[in-house]
Amino acid sequence: MTETPVDQMSFEQAMRELEGVVDQLERGDVALDASIALYERGAELKKRCEDELKRAEEKVAAITLDANGTPKGTQPLDAG
Protein backbone atom coordinates (compact mmCIF):
# COMPACT_ATOMS: atom_id res chain seq x y z
CA MET A 1 0.00 0.00 0.00
CA THR A 2 1.19 3.51 -0.61
CA GLU A 3 2.29 5.75 2.21
CA THR A 4 0.08 8.64 1.20
CA PRO A 5 -2.67 9.10 3.79
CA VAL A 6 -6.02 8.39 2.24
CA ASP A 7 -7.41 11.81 3.08
CA GLN A 8 -4.59 13.47 1.19
CA MET A 9 -4.97 11.36 -1.92
CA SER A 10 -6.21 12.74 -5.17
CA PHE A 11 -9.40 11.26 -6.48
CA GLU A 12 -7.47 9.36 -9.10
CA GLN A 13 -4.97 7.92 -6.61
CA ALA A 14 -7.77 6.79 -4.29
CA MET A 15 -9.63 5.35 -7.25
CA ARG A 16 -6.66 3.34 -8.47
CA GLU A 17 -5.89 1.94 -5.07
CA LEU A 18 -9.51 1.08 -4.39
CA GLU A 19 -9.55 -0.93 -7.60
CA GLY A 20 -6.40 -2.72 -6.50
CA VAL A 21 -7.88 -3.49 -3.09
CA VAL A 22 -11.10 -4.84 -4.55
CA ASP A 23 -9.20 -7.01 -7.02
CA GLN A 24 -7.00 -8.38 -4.28
CA LEU A 25 -9.95 -9.17 -2.03
CA GLU A 26 -11.88 -10.79 -4.83
CA ARG A 27 -9.02 -13.07 -5.69
CA GLY A 28 -9.52 -14.46 -2.20
CA ASP A 29 -5.88 -15.35 -1.64
CA VAL A 30 -5.39 -12.92 1.22
CA ALA A 31 -5.07 -14.13 4.80
CA LEU A 32 -8.12 -13.43 6.93
CA ASP A 33 -6.36 -10.83 9.11
CA ALA A 34 -4.98 -9.10 6.05
CA SER A 35 -8.32 -9.24 4.29
CA ILE A 36 -9.98 -7.44 7.19
CA ALA A 37 -7.30 -4.74 7.12
CA LEU A 38 -7.68 -4.59 3.37
CA TYR A 39 -11.42 -4.19 3.65
CA GLU A 40 -11.00 -1.33 6.09
CA ARG A 41 -8.54 0.32 3.73
CA GLY A 42 -10.95 -0.19 0.86
CA ALA A 43 -13.82 1.33 2.82
CA GLU A 44 -11.66 4.36 3.60
CA LEU A 45 -10.69 4.73 -0.03
CA LYS A 46 -14.28 4.43 -1.15
CA LYS A 47 -15.28 7.12 1.31
CA ARG A 48 -12.52 9.33 0.00
CA CYS A 49 -13.77 8.84 -3.57
CA GLU A 50 -17.35 9.53 -2.59
CA ASP A 51 -16.37 12.65 -0.69
CA GLU A 52 -14.53 13.90 -3.74
CA LEU A 53 -17.55 13.13 -5.89
CA LYS A 54 -19.86 14.92 -3.46
CA ARG A 55 -17.64 17.98 -3.55
CA ALA A 56 -18.95 18.71 -7.01
CA GLU A 57 -19.69 22.34 -6.56
CA GLU A 58 -19.97 24.72 -9.39
CA LYS A 59 -18.53 28.13 -8.85
CA VAL A 60 -17.75 30.34 -11.76
CA ALA A 61 -15.87 33.57 -11.41
CA ALA A 62 -14.21 35.90 -13.82
CA ILE A 63 -10.93 37.52 -12.98
CA THR A 64 -10.90 41.29 -12.93
CA LEU A 65 -7.78 42.99 -14.12
CA ASP A 66 -6.29 46.30 -13.20
CA ALA A 67 -4.95 48.82 -15.64
CA ASN A 68 -1.71 46.88 -16.07
CA GLY A 69 -3.57 43.71 -16.88
CA THR A 70 -2.68 42.02 -13.60
CA PRO A 71 -5.49 40.26 -11.73
CA LYS A 72 -6.94 42.19 -8.81
CA GLY A 73 -9.93 40.07 -7.91
CA THR A 74 -12.90 38.15 -9.17
CA GLN A 75 -16.47 38.88 -9.96
CA PRO A 76 -19.30 36.46 -10.52
CA LEU A 77 -19.67 35.54 -14.11
CA ASP A 78 -23.10 35.16 -15.56
CA ALA A 79 -22.52 33.41 -18.78
CA GLY A 80 -26.05 32.10 -19.00
Binding site: G28, Y39, A56, V60
Partner: protein, 501 residues
Protein backbone atom coordinates in the same frame (compact mmCIF):
# COMPACT_ATOMS: atom_id res chain seq x y z
CA UNK B 1 2.34 79.18 -54.40
CA UNK B 2 0.77 81.81 -56.51
CA UNK B 3 2.97 84.34 -54.73
CA UNK B 4 5.98 82.87 -56.45
CA UNK B 5 4.49 83.32 -59.83
CA UNK B 6 3.16 86.72 -58.99
CA UNK B 7 6.56 88.02 -58.06
CA UNK B 8 9.00 86.83 -60.68
CA UNK B 9 12.62 87.80 -60.60
CA UNK B 10 13.33 90.09 -63.55
CA UNK B 11 14.87 88.47 -66.62
CA UNK B 12 13.70 85.02 -65.68
CA UNK B 13 10.37 83.37 -66.23
CA UNK B 14 10.81 80.51 -63.73
CA UNK B 15 10.65 81.18 -60.02
CA UNK B 16 13.61 80.29 -57.82
CA UNK B 17 13.36 78.06 -54.70
CA UNK B 18 15.71 77.33 -51.95
CA UNK B 19 16.33 73.59 -51.45
CA UNK B 20 14.42 73.62 -48.25
CA UNK B 21 11.59 75.47 -49.84
CA UNK B 22 11.18 72.96 -52.61
CA UNK B 23 11.59 70.05 -50.17
CA UNK B 24 8.87 71.52 -48.04
CA UNK B 25 6.71 71.99 -51.14
CA UNK B 26 7.22 68.38 -52.20
CA UNK B 27 6.44 67.11 -48.73
CA UNK B 28 3.29 69.17 -48.55
CA UNK B 29 2.23 68.09 -52.02
CA UNK B 30 2.79 64.45 -51.24
CA UNK B 31 0.96 64.54 -47.99
CA UNK B 32 -1.82 66.70 -49.30
CA UNK B 33 -2.41 64.96 -52.55
CA UNK B 34 -2.49 61.35 -51.40
CA UNK B 35 -3.75 61.63 -47.86
CA UNK B 36 -4.21 58.32 -46.07
CA UNK B 37 -3.63 55.45 -48.44
CA UNK B 38 -3.35 51.65 -48.49
CA UNK B 39 -0.55 49.97 -50.40
CA UNK B 40 -0.23 46.29 -51.10
CA UNK B 41 3.16 44.66 -51.56
CA UNK B 42 5.68 42.20 -50.25
CA UNK B 43 7.77 43.17 -47.28
CA UNK B 44 11.42 43.51 -48.22
CA UNK B 45 14.33 44.32 -45.96
CA UNK B 46 13.25 45.07 -42.35
CA UNK B 47 15.43 47.13 -40.04
CA UNK B 48 14.60 48.00 -36.48
CA UNK B 49 16.74 50.95 -35.37
CA UNK B 50 18.17 51.29 -31.89
CA UNK B 51 15.79 54.17 -31.40
CA UNK B 52 12.93 51.67 -31.67
CA UNK B 53 11.65 52.90 -34.99
CA UNK B 54 11.01 50.35 -37.69
CA UNK B 55 12.26 50.85 -41.25
CA UNK B 56 11.27 48.47 -44.02
CA UNK B 57 10.50 48.24 -47.71
CA UNK B 58 7.33 47.28 -49.47
CA UNK B 59 7.97 46.13 -53.00
CA UNK B 60 6.44 44.62 -56.07
CA UNK B 61 8.24 43.27 -59.11
CA UNK B 62 9.34 46.68 -60.32
CA UNK B 63 9.35 49.23 -57.50
CA UNK B 64 10.22 49.68 -53.90
CA UNK B 65 8.45 51.88 -51.35
CA UNK B 66 10.36 52.81 -48.23
CA UNK B 67 8.16 52.53 -45.13
CA UNK B 68 8.59 53.78 -41.60
CA UNK B 69 6.68 52.93 -38.46
CA UNK B 70 7.61 55.01 -35.44
CA UNK B 71 8.33 53.36 -32.11
CA UNK B 72 5.04 54.53 -30.65
CA UNK B 73 3.08 53.16 -33.56
CA UNK B 74 4.51 49.63 -33.50
CA UNK B 75 2.30 48.40 -30.67
CA UNK B 76 -0.69 49.36 -32.78
CA UNK B 77 0.26 47.08 -35.65
CA UNK B 78 -1.77 43.88 -35.86
CA UNK B 79 1.10 42.22 -37.76
CA UNK B 80 4.70 43.17 -37.39
CA UNK B 81 6.12 43.15 -40.91
CA UNK B 82 8.38 40.23 -41.67
CA UNK B 83 10.48 39.87 -44.78
CA UNK B 84 8.65 38.06 -47.53
CA UNK B 85 5.20 38.66 -46.06
CA UNK B 86 2.49 39.87 -48.45
CA UNK B 87 0.88 42.78 -46.65
CA UNK B 88 -1.42 45.74 -47.07
CA UNK B 89 0.07 48.74 -45.26
CA UNK B 90 -1.98 51.78 -44.31
CA UNK B 91 -0.54 55.26 -43.65
CA UNK B 92 0.48 58.49 -45.24
CA UNK B 93 3.11 59.30 -47.83
CA UNK B 94 5.68 61.81 -46.76
CA UNK B 95 9.06 63.08 -47.79
CA UNK B 96 12.35 63.29 -45.99
CA UNK B 97 13.95 66.44 -47.22
CA UNK B 98 17.36 65.82 -45.70
CA UNK B 99 17.90 62.95 -48.17
CA UNK B 100 15.58 63.92 -50.96
CA UNK B 101 13.58 60.80 -50.38
CA UNK B 102 9.99 60.03 -49.92
CA UNK B 103 8.55 57.25 -47.86
CA UNK B 104 5.38 56.06 -46.25
CA UNK B 105 4.62 56.30 -42.59
CA UNK B 106 2.70 53.11 -41.82
CA UNK B 107 0.45 52.81 -38.78
CA UNK B 108 -1.26 49.58 -39.73
CA UNK B 109 -0.09 46.42 -41.37
CA UNK B 110 -2.46 43.67 -42.47
CA UNK B 111 -1.52 40.39 -44.00
CA UNK B 112 -2.72 40.33 -47.57
CA UNK B 113 -4.84 37.29 -48.28
CA UNK B 114 -5.08 33.75 -46.77
CA UNK B 115 -2.21 32.35 -48.82
CA UNK B 116 0.14 34.86 -47.26
CA UNK B 117 -1.14 34.11 -43.77
CA UNK B 118 -0.78 30.37 -44.28
CA UNK B 119 2.76 30.88 -45.52
CA UNK B 120 3.54 32.88 -42.39
CA UNK B 121 1.97 30.25 -40.19
CA UNK B 122 3.99 27.51 -41.87
CA UNK B 123 7.15 29.50 -41.30
CA UNK B 124 6.42 29.91 -37.58
CA UNK B 125 5.47 26.26 -37.23
CA UNK B 126 8.77 25.18 -38.71
CA UNK B 127 10.66 27.48 -36.41
CA UNK B 128 8.91 26.35 -33.22
CA UNK B 129 9.10 22.72 -34.25
CA UNK B 130 12.83 23.10 -34.81
CA UNK B 131 13.04 24.41 -31.24
CA UNK B 132 11.37 21.22 -30.07
CA UNK B 133 8.26 22.89 -28.67
CA UNK B 134 5.97 20.36 -30.39
CA UNK B 135 7.81 17.31 -28.98
CA UNK B 136 5.42 14.68 -27.58
CA UNK B 137 7.59 14.26 -24.46
CA UNK B 138 6.90 17.91 -23.57
CA UNK B 139 3.19 17.16 -23.26
CA UNK B 140 1.98 16.98 -19.67
CA UNK B 141 -0.73 14.54 -18.66
CA UNK B 142 -4.05 16.16 -17.80
CA UNK B 143 -5.22 15.74 -14.20
CA UNK B 144 -7.92 13.11 -13.92
CA UNK B 145 -10.17 15.35 -11.89
CA UNK B 146 -9.02 18.98 -11.76
CA UNK B 147 -10.21 21.02 -8.81
CA UNK B 148 -10.07 24.39 -10.48
CA UNK B 149 -10.22 24.97 -14.20
CA UNK B 150 -8.87 28.19 -15.62
CA UNK B 151 -10.53 29.27 -18.86
CA UNK B 152 -8.89 31.82 -21.11
CA UNK B 153 -11.58 33.17 -23.40
CA UNK B 154 -14.05 35.94 -23.96
CA UNK B 155 -16.30 36.33 -20.89
CA UNK B 156 -19.31 36.79 -23.13
CA UNK B 157 -20.40 34.64 -25.96
CA UNK B 158 -21.21 31.05 -26.74
CA UNK B 159 -17.81 29.58 -25.98
CA UNK B 160 -17.73 30.08 -22.21
CA UNK B 161 -21.40 29.11 -22.06
CA UNK B 162 -20.76 25.85 -23.90
CA UNK B 163 -17.85 25.03 -21.65
CA UNK B 164 -19.73 25.74 -18.43
CA UNK B 165 -22.77 23.76 -19.63
CA UNK B 166 -20.71 20.72 -20.44
CA UNK B 167 -18.78 20.95 -17.20
CA UNK B 168 -22.04 21.17 -15.26
CA UNK B 169 -23.35 18.09 -17.06
CA UNK B 170 -20.28 16.02 -16.39
CA UNK B 171 -18.78 17.21 -13.15
CA UNK B 172 -19.37 20.72 -11.76
CA UNK B 173 -16.05 22.29 -10.83
CA UNK B 174 -14.70 25.66 -9.83
CA UNK B 175 -14.03 27.70 -12.94
CA UNK B 176 -11.93 30.82 -13.13
CA UNK B 177 -12.39 32.81 -16.33
CA UNK B 178 -9.61 35.11 -17.48
CA UNK B 179 -11.31 37.49 -19.89
CA UNK B 180 -9.41 38.22 -23.08
CA UNK B 181 -10.12 39.59 -26.49
CA UNK B 182 -10.30 36.61 -28.83
CA UNK B 183 -9.64 38.57 -32.00
CA UNK B 184 -8.02 41.77 -33.09
CA UNK B 185 -4.62 43.04 -32.30
CA UNK B 186 -4.94 42.84 -28.52
CA UNK B 187 -5.87 39.16 -28.67
CA UNK B 188 -2.39 37.64 -28.75
CA UNK B 189 -0.82 39.69 -25.94
CA UNK B 190 -3.88 39.26 -23.74
CA UNK B 191 -4.05 35.51 -24.23
CA UNK B 192 -0.32 35.17 -23.58
CA UNK B 193 -0.62 37.30 -20.44
CA UNK B 194 -3.58 35.25 -19.24
CA UNK B 195 -1.69 31.96 -19.58
CA UNK B 196 1.31 33.42 -17.76
CA UNK B 197 -1.00 35.01 -15.17
CA UNK B 198 -2.69 31.70 -14.31
CA UNK B 199 0.73 30.12 -13.90
CA UNK B 200 1.81 32.87 -11.55
CA UNK B 201 -1.10 32.33 -9.16
CA UNK B 202 -0.20 30.39 -6.02
CA UNK B 203 -2.14 27.24 -5.16
CA UNK B 204 -4.63 27.91 -2.40
CA UNK B 205 -4.17 31.68 -2.58
CA UNK B 206 -6.86 34.33 -2.64
CA UNK B 207 -7.03 33.67 -6.33
CA UNK B 208 -6.46 29.92 -6.36
CA UNK B 209 -4.22 28.54 -9.07
CA UNK B 210 -6.08 26.32 -11.51
CA UNK B 211 -4.74 22.84 -12.15
CA UNK B 212 -5.93 22.88 -15.74
CA UNK B 213 -6.13 25.66 -18.32
CA UNK B 214 -8.47 25.74 -21.30
CA UNK B 215 -7.74 28.31 -24.00
CA UNK B 216 -10.88 28.54 -26.08
CA UNK B 217 -12.36 30.46 -28.95
CA UNK B 218 -15.21 29.79 -31.32
CA UNK B 219 -14.87 29.35 -35.04
CA UNK B 220 -13.93 32.17 -37.36
CA UNK B 221 -11.92 33.16 -40.37
CA UNK B 222 -8.17 32.67 -40.37
CA UNK B 223 -7.81 36.38 -39.76
CA UNK B 224 -10.17 36.14 -36.77
CA UNK B 225 -8.17 33.29 -35.29
CA UNK B 226 -4.87 34.88 -36.12
CA UNK B 227 -4.10 35.90 -32.57
CA UNK B 228 -3.73 32.22 -31.65
CA UNK B 229 -1.12 31.84 -34.37
CA UNK B 230 1.08 34.43 -32.80
CA UNK B 231 4.41 33.32 -31.45
CA UNK B 232 3.94 34.92 -28.02
CA UNK B 233 0.77 32.88 -27.49
CA UNK B 234 2.45 29.65 -28.60
CA UNK B 235 5.46 30.34 -26.39
CA UNK B 236 3.31 31.16 -23.38
CA UNK B 237 1.36 27.93 -23.86
CA UNK B 238 4.57 25.93 -24.20
CA UNK B 239 5.98 27.50 -21.06
CA UNK B 240 2.85 26.84 -19.00
CA UNK B 241 3.48 24.60 -15.98
CA UNK B 242 -0.23 23.95 -15.75
CA UNK B 243 -1.54 21.39 -18.25
CA UNK B 244 -3.26 23.23 -21.07
CA UNK B 245 -6.03 22.27 -23.47
CA UNK B 246 -6.40 24.34 -26.62
CA UNK B 247 -9.80 24.63 -28.24
CA UNK B 248 -9.64 27.29 -30.91
CA UNK B 249 -12.07 27.47 -33.78
CA UNK B 250 -13.76 24.49 -35.34
CA UNK B 251 -12.34 21.05 -35.77
CA UNK B 252 -10.83 21.94 -39.14
CA UNK B 253 -9.05 25.04 -37.88
CA UNK B 254 -5.60 24.38 -36.62
CA UNK B 255 -3.75 27.21 -34.98
CA UNK B 256 -0.23 27.43 -33.68
CA UNK B 257 -1.29 27.03 -30.05
CA UNK B 258 -2.77 23.61 -30.90
CA UNK B 259 0.70 22.28 -31.63
CA UNK B 260 2.21 23.34 -28.33
CA UNK B 261 -0.76 22.66 -26.04
CA UNK B 262 -0.80 19.44 -24.00
CA UNK B 263 -4.10 18.40 -25.61
CA UNK B 264 -6.01 19.82 -28.52
CA UNK B 265 -9.78 19.77 -28.34
CA UNK B 266 -11.67 20.13 -31.61
CA UNK B 267 -14.28 22.39 -29.97
CA UNK B 268 -14.74 24.21 -26.64
CA UNK B 269 -17.36 21.62 -25.64
CA UNK B 270 -14.91 18.83 -26.33
CA UNK B 271 -12.38 20.69 -24.14
CA UNK B 272 -14.82 20.47 -21.22
CA UNK B 273 -15.19 16.75 -21.88
CA UNK B 274 -11.44 16.26 -21.85
CA UNK B 275 -11.19 18.29 -18.66
CA UNK B 276 -13.46 16.32 -16.33
CA UNK B 277 -14.81 12.78 -16.06
CA UNK B 278 -18.54 12.13 -15.77
CA UNK B 279 -19.51 12.37 -12.14
CA UNK B 280 -22.50 10.05 -12.30
CA UNK B 281 -20.39 7.36 -13.89
CA UNK B 282 -17.80 7.74 -11.19
CA UNK B 283 -20.44 7.56 -8.49
CA UNK B 284 -21.77 4.38 -10.03
CA UNK B 285 -18.25 3.08 -10.22
CA UNK B 286 -17.62 3.92 -6.56
CA UNK B 287 -20.90 2.26 -5.63
CA UNK B 288 -19.92 -0.80 -7.58
CA UNK B 289 -16.46 -0.89 -6.00
CA UNK B 290 -18.04 -0.58 -2.57
CA UNK B 291 -20.39 -3.44 -3.29
CA UNK B 292 -17.59 -5.59 -4.59
CA UNK B 293 -15.49 -4.69 -1.58
CA UNK B 294 -18.21 -5.69 0.87
CA UNK B 295 -19.04 -8.84 -1.05
CA UNK B 296 -15.42 -9.86 -1.32
CA UNK B 297 -14.81 -9.23 2.37
CA UNK B 298 -17.99 -11.09 3.33
CA UNK B 299 -17.02 -13.90 1.05
CA UNK B 300 -13.61 -14.14 2.65
CA UNK B 301 -15.28 -14.70 6.03
CA UNK B 302 -18.02 -16.90 4.59
CA UNK B 303 -15.60 -19.18 2.79
CA UNK B 304 -13.53 -19.61 5.90
CA UNK B 305 -16.60 -20.28 8.03
CA UNK B 306 -17.68 -22.92 5.56
CA UNK B 307 -14.26 -24.46 5.65
CA UNK B 308 -14.26 -24.38 9.43
CA UNK B 309 -17.63 -26.10 9.54
CA UNK B 310 -16.48 -28.74 7.12
CA UNK B 311 -13.39 -29.37 9.14
CA UNK B 312 -15.35 -29.39 12.39
CA UNK B 313 -17.63 -32.06 11.01
CA UNK B 314 -14.70 -34.16 10.03
CA UNK B 315 -13.28 -33.82 13.53
CA UNK B 316 -14.15 -36.97 15.63
CA UNK B 317 -16.02 -36.57 18.95
CA UNK B 318 -13.92 -36.80 22.09
CA UNK B 319 -16.08 -39.71 23.36
CA UNK B 320 -15.40 -41.63 20.21
CA UNK B 321 -11.73 -41.11 20.64
CA UNK B 322 -11.86 -42.46 24.19
CA UNK B 323 -14.21 -45.39 23.62
CA UNK B 324 -11.70 -47.98 22.59
CA UNK B 325 -9.10 -47.18 25.24
CA UNK B 326 -11.83 -47.10 27.84
CA UNK B 327 -13.04 -50.56 26.82
CA UNK B 328 -9.52 -51.83 26.99
CA UNK B 329 -9.14 -50.35 30.42
CA UNK B 330 -12.36 -51.99 31.57
CA UNK B 331 -11.29 -55.34 30.26
CA UNK B 332 -7.89 -55.10 31.78
CA UNK B 333 -9.05 -53.79 35.13
CA UNK B 334 -11.50 -56.72 35.28
CA UNK B 335 -8.64 -59.08 34.87
CA UNK B 336 -6.44 -57.31 37.36
CA UNK B 337 -7.58 -58.96 40.67
CA UNK B 338 -7.76 -62.44 39.08
CA UNK B 339 -4.31 -61.96 37.67
CA UNK B 340 -2.93 -61.19 41.09
CA UNK B 341 -4.54 -64.21 42.68
CA UNK B 342 -3.52 -66.56 39.92
CA UNK B 343 0.00 -65.22 40.07
CA UNK B 344 0.22 -66.00 43.78
CA UNK B 345 -1.36 -69.39 43.17
CA UNK B 346 1.11 -70.28 40.51
CA UNK B 347 4.02 -69.40 42.71
CA UNK B 348 2.57 -71.30 45.60
CA UNK B 349 2.27 -74.44 43.48
CA UNK B 350 5.81 -74.03 42.37
CA UNK B 351 6.93 -73.57 45.95
CA UNK B 352 5.14 -76.61 47.14
CA UNK B 353 6.54 -78.63 44.26
CA UNK B 354 10.00 -77.51 45.13
CA UNK B 355 9.55 -77.89 48.86
CA UNK B 356 8.19 -81.41 48.47
CA UNK B 357 11.54 -82.73 47.30
CA UNK B 358 13.35 -80.96 50.08
CA UNK B 359 13.58 -83.80 52.76
CA UNK B 360 16.46 -85.31 55.02
CA UNK B 361 16.18 -88.66 53.28
CA UNK B 362 16.99 -87.05 49.99
CA UNK B 363 20.07 -85.50 51.46
CA UNK B 364 21.13 -88.80 53.07
CA UNK B 365 20.60 -90.62 49.86
CA UNK B 366 22.80 -88.08 48.16
CA UNK B 367 25.57 -88.47 50.78
CA UNK B 368 25.30 -92.31 50.56
CA UNK B 369 25.68 -92.17 46.83
CA UNK B 370 28.79 -90.07 47.06
CA UNK B 371 30.28 -92.28 49.73
CA UNK B 372 29.76 -95.41 47.65
CA UNK B 373 31.51 -93.79 44.78
CA UNK B 374 34.41 -92.84 47.03
CA UNK B 375 34.77 -96.35 48.31
CA UNK B 376 34.59 -97.72 44.87
CA UNK B 377 37.35 -95.41 43.75
CA UNK B 378 39.60 -95.92 46.78
CA UNK B 379 39.39 -99.69 46.42
CA UNK B 380 40.81 -99.36 42.99
CA UNK B 381 43.73 -97.27 44.27
CA UNK B 382 46.97 -99.74 44.40
CA UNK B 383 50.88 -99.70 43.85
CA UNK B 384 51.03 -102.73 41.58
CA UNK B 385 50.81 -100.97 38.30
CA UNK B 386 53.64 -98.65 39.33
CA UNK B 387 55.86 -101.57 40.42
CA UNK B 388 55.21 -103.33 37.16
CA UNK B 389 56.17 -100.30 35.29
CA UNK B 390 59.40 -99.85 37.28
CA UNK B 391 60.51 -103.49 36.62
CA UNK B 392 59.95 -103.08 32.92
CA UNK B 393 62.01 -99.91 32.93
CA UNK B 394 64.87 -101.58 34.79
CA UNK B 395 65.09 -104.39 32.19
CA UNK B 396 65.21 -101.91 29.41
CA UNK B 397 68.01 -99.99 31.11
CA UNK B 398 70.13 -103.15 31.57
CA UNK B 399 69.72 -104.04 27.93
CA UNK B 400 70.80 -100.62 26.83
CA UNK B 401 73.90 -100.68 29.14
CA UNK B 402 74.98 -103.98 27.66
CA UNK B 403 74.71 -102.67 24.17
CA UNK B 404 76.67 -99.57 25.13
CA UNK B 405 79.65 -101.60 26.48
CA UNK B 406 79.83 -103.82 23.46
CA UNK B 407 79.76 -100.93 21.10
CA UNK B 408 82.50 -99.13 22.98
CA UNK B 409 84.84 -102.19 23.04
CA UNK B 410 84.38 -102.75 19.32
CA UNK B 411 85.20 -99.20 18.61
CA UNK B 412 88.42 -99.18 20.65
CA UNK B 413 89.57 -102.38 19.00
CA UNK B 414 89.04 -100.94 15.63
CA UNK B 415 91.07 -97.85 16.44
CA UNK B 416 93.93 -99.88 17.96
CA UNK B 417 94.23 -101.82 14.73
CA UNK B 418 94.20 -98.69 12.74
CA UNK B 419 96.88 -97.15 14.92
CA UNK B 420 99.19 -100.19 14.51
CA UNK B 421 98.80 -99.97 10.73
CA UNK B 422 99.61 -96.29 10.80
CA UNK B 423 102.67 -96.91 13.00
CA UNK B 424 103.96 -99.42 10.56
CA UNK B 425 103.42 -97.09 7.70
CA UNK B 426 105.21 -94.36 9.64
CA UNK B 427 108.20 -96.56 10.25
CA UNK B 428 108.44 -97.29 6.55
CA UNK B 429 108.28 -93.64 5.61
CA UNK B 430 110.55 -92.28 8.44
CA UNK B 431 113.83 -90.53 7.62
CA UNK B 432 115.45 -92.77 10.22
CA UNK B 433 115.46 -95.53 7.69
CA UNK B 434 117.58 -93.36 5.40
CA UNK B 435 119.95 -92.76 8.24
CA UNK B 436 120.68 -96.44 8.15
CA UNK B 437 121.57 -96.14 4.54
CA UNK B 438 124.32 -93.57 5.35
CA UNK B 439 122.46 -90.27 5.51
CA UNK B 440 122.53 -87.89 8.45
CA UNK B 441 120.26 -85.10 9.69
CA UNK B 442 121.87 -81.79 10.66
CA UNK B 443 120.18 -79.58 13.24
CA UNK B 444 121.32 -76.07 13.94
CA UNK B 445 120.48 -74.13 17.09
CA UNK B 446 118.37 -76.75 18.80
CA UNK B 447 115.89 -78.73 16.85
CA UNK B 448 115.87 -76.71 13.60
CA UNK B 449 116.75 -79.00 10.69
CA UNK B 450 118.85 -77.26 8.12
CA UNK B 451 119.42 -78.33 4.58
CA UNK B 452 121.50 -75.35 3.49
CA UNK B 453 125.21 -74.84 4.16
CA UNK B 454 124.67 -71.09 4.45
CA UNK B 455 122.13 -71.55 7.20
CA UNK B 456 124.39 -74.02 8.97
CA UNK B 457 127.31 -71.62 8.71
CA UNK B 458 125.25 -68.80 10.25
CA UNK B 459 124.13 -70.97 13.12
CA UNK B 460 126.04 -71.79 16.27
CA UNK B 461 126.86 -75.39 17.20
CA UNK B 462 125.21 -78.11 15.03
CA UNK B 463 123.88 -81.55 16.01
CA UNK B 464 124.24 -84.34 13.48
CA UNK B 465 122.01 -87.31 13.86
CA UNK B 466 123.08 -90.65 12.65
CA UNK B 467 121.34 -93.92 12.63
CA UNK B 468 122.78 -94.86 15.90
CA UNK B 469 122.86 -91.47 17.73
CA UNK B 470 123.53 -87.80 17.75
CA UNK B 471 126.82 -85.99 17.62
CA UNK B 472 127.37 -82.31 18.63
CA UNK B 473 129.71 -80.61 16.18
CA UNK B 474 131.44 -77.18 16.71
CA UNK B 475 132.55 -74.91 13.87
CA UNK B 476 136.21 -75.71 13.92
CA UNK B 477 135.57 -79.36 14.13
CA UNK B 478 133.29 -79.05 11.19
CA UNK B 479 135.91 -77.29 9.09
CA UNK B 480 138.44 -79.90 9.95
CA UNK B 481 135.92 -82.46 9.32
CA UNK B 482 135.30 -81.00 5.88
CA UNK B 483 138.96 -81.06 5.08
CA UNK B 484 139.22 -84.56 6.21
CA UNK B 485 136.30 -85.79 4.36
CA UNK B 486 136.71 -84.51 0.73
CA UNK B 487 135.17 -87.54 -0.74
CA UNK B 488 131.85 -86.51 0.63
CA UNK B 489 129.52 -85.48 -2.19
CA UNK B 490 129.05 -81.72 -2.26
CA UNK B 491 126.31 -79.87 -4.06
CA UNK B 492 128.13 -76.53 -3.50
CA UNK B 493 131.37 -75.03 -4.65
CA UNK B 494 132.84 -74.27 -1.23
CA UNK B 495 134.42 -76.81 0.93
CA UNK B 496 133.02 -75.50 4.21
CA UNK B 497 129.55 -75.84 2.88
CA UNK B 498 129.98 -79.28 1.66
CA UNK B 499 131.30 -80.21 5.07
CA UNK B 500 127.98 -79.59 6.58
CA UNK B 501 126.79 -82.96 5.30
Amino acid sequence: MSDLFDDPIPGQNAPEFTVSEISGEVKRTLEGTFGRIRVRGEVGRVFKARSGHLYYDIKDDRSVLACTTWKGQISGLSVVPEEGLEVVVTGRLTAFGAQSKYNMNVDEVAVAGQGALMALLEKRKKQLEAEGLFAPERKKPLPYLPHIIGVVTSPSGAVIRDILHRLRDRFPRKVLVWPVAVQGKTCAPEVARAIEGFNRLTPGGALPRPDLIIVARGGGSIEDLWGFNEEIVARAAAASQIPLISAVGHETDTTLIDFVSDRRAPTPTAAAELAVPVRLELMAWAENQGARLTRAAGQAVQLRRQRLNDLARALPKPDTLLETPRQRLDRISDRLPGALISGVQRRRVHLSETAASLRPATLRQLVEGRRNRLQNLSSRLSLRPIQREMAAQKDALARLAQRLDAAQAARIDRQRQSLAASGRQLEILSYKATLGRGYAVVRAGGDVVTTRAAAAAAAGPLQVEFADGTLDVTREAAQTGAATAPDKPSGGDRGDQGSLF
